[in-house]
C-alpha cells in the first residue's frame, strides 16, 4: 500500500523515532513502564501472601529466592518503580487540577520524580542496613 493515495487529509501522529528526547516524554514512558512492572510486583506479592498462608514448608520454597542476590535486586527495583510511579502519579494528580503544566514546571517536576525514584530505594536500603 506504500504510495497509495491517502483518501483524506487527516492529521498524522509523528512517529516516536523522530522526536527529540525530552524529560517529560521520558517521564510519561517511565510511568507506563513502571506501572507494568508493578503489575508483576503485585503478582509476586500475592504469591508471597499465599506462600505464607500455606505454611512453613511452602514458605521455605520461596524464601531462598527472596534472600538471593537476584531476589534482593528485584525488590530494590520494585521499590524504585513504586517510588517513581508514586511521585509521577502525584504529579499527574496535580496536572489534573490544571496546575504545573507550564513546560518549565513540568520539566522540573519530571526531574524530581526521577530523582525520587533514585533516592527512595537508596533511603530504604540505608534504613534497613544502618537504621532502626
Amino acid at each position: 500500500m506504500a504510495g497509495a493515495p491517502r483518501p483524506e487529509d487527516r492529521p498524522l501522529s509523528p512517529h516516536l523515532s523522530i522526536w527529540r528526547w525530552h524529560v517529560t516524554m521520558a517521564s510519561s514512558i517511565l510511568h507506563r513502564f513502571t506501572g507494568m512492572g508493578l503489575y508483576v510486583a503485585a503478582i509476586l506479592l500475592s504469591v508471597w501472601l499465599m506462600a505464607a498462608a500455606a505454611g512453613p514448608e511452602a514458605y521455605a520454597q520461596i524464601e531462598p529466592h527472596l534472600a538471593a542476590w537476584y531476589g534482593q535486586a528485584v525488590m530494590y527495583l520494585i521499590v524504585a518503580a513504586l517510588a517513581y510511579h508514586l511521585a509521577n502519579g502525584i504529579r499527574h494528580l496535580v496536572f489534573d487540577t490544571g496546575n504545573g503544566l507550564v513546560p518549565t514546571d513540568a520539566d522540573t517536576s519530571a526531574w524530581f520524580a526521577i530523582l525520587f525514584a533514585v533516592a527512595a530505594p537508596l533511603g530504604l536500603w540505608a534504613l534497613l542496613s544502618f537504621g532502626a
Binding site: 483518501p7 487527516r10 503478582i43 501472601l49 521499590v79 534497613l128
Partner: protein, 132 residues
C-alpha cells in the same frame, strides 16, 4: 486535499456515528481515587513490611500479617492495588493492541488475573489470622 476540514475521525467512523462510548468517566475517576489511596498504602507497606520481615523468614512474615492493622492494610492494598493496575493495564492494551481477537483476549485476561489473585491473596491473609 480539498478545502475540507481536518478531522481526527475517519470516514467510516463518521458514517457509523457512534461517537464516544460514554463510560470513560468512571474509569477516570476510579483510576484517581485508587491512586490517592495507594499513595498512602504503597509506601506504608514497602517500609513497614521491609522493616518487619528483613532477615526474619517465615515467623516474621506471619507475625507481620497477624497484626490486625497490618492485615487490614494488606487487604486494602491488595483490593485497591489490583483494581488500579487492572484499570491501568486496560488503558495500555486499548492504546497498543489493534487486533480485535488479541485485544479482547488480553482484556479478559486483565480482568480475570487480578480478580483471581486478589481473592487468593485476601484468603491468604484471612487464613494466617483465622486458620487452623
Amino acid at each position: 486535499m480539498s478545502g475540507t476540514q481536518r478531522s481526527m475521525r475517519s470516514p467510516l467512523g463518521r458514517v457509523r456515528g457512534h461517537g464516544a462510548a460514554h463510560e470513560g468517566t468512571g474509569h477516570f475517576i476510579g483510576q484517581r481515587w485508587s491512586a490517592i489511596a495507594l499513595a498512602i498504602l504503597g509506601p506504608w507497606f514497602a517500609v513497614a513490611a521491609a522493616l518487619a520481615i528483613r532477615d526474619g523468614g517465615y515467623t516474621a512474615a506471619i507475625d507481620f500479617l497477624s497484626d490486625p492493622v497490618n492485615a487490614v492494610g494488606v487487604i486494602l492494598l491488595v483490593v485497591i492495588g489490583f483494581y488500579h493496575m487492572s484499570l491501568g493495564m486496560q488503558e495500555v492494551i486499548l492504546d497498543y493492541i489493534g487486533k480485535p481477537f488479541t485485544k479482547v483476549a488480553l482484556l479478559l485476561l486483565n480482568a480475570a488475573v487480578p480478580l483471581v489473585l486478589a481473592a487468593g491473596a485476601i484468603f491468604a491473609v484471612l487464613l494466617v489470622n483465622f486458620g487452623v
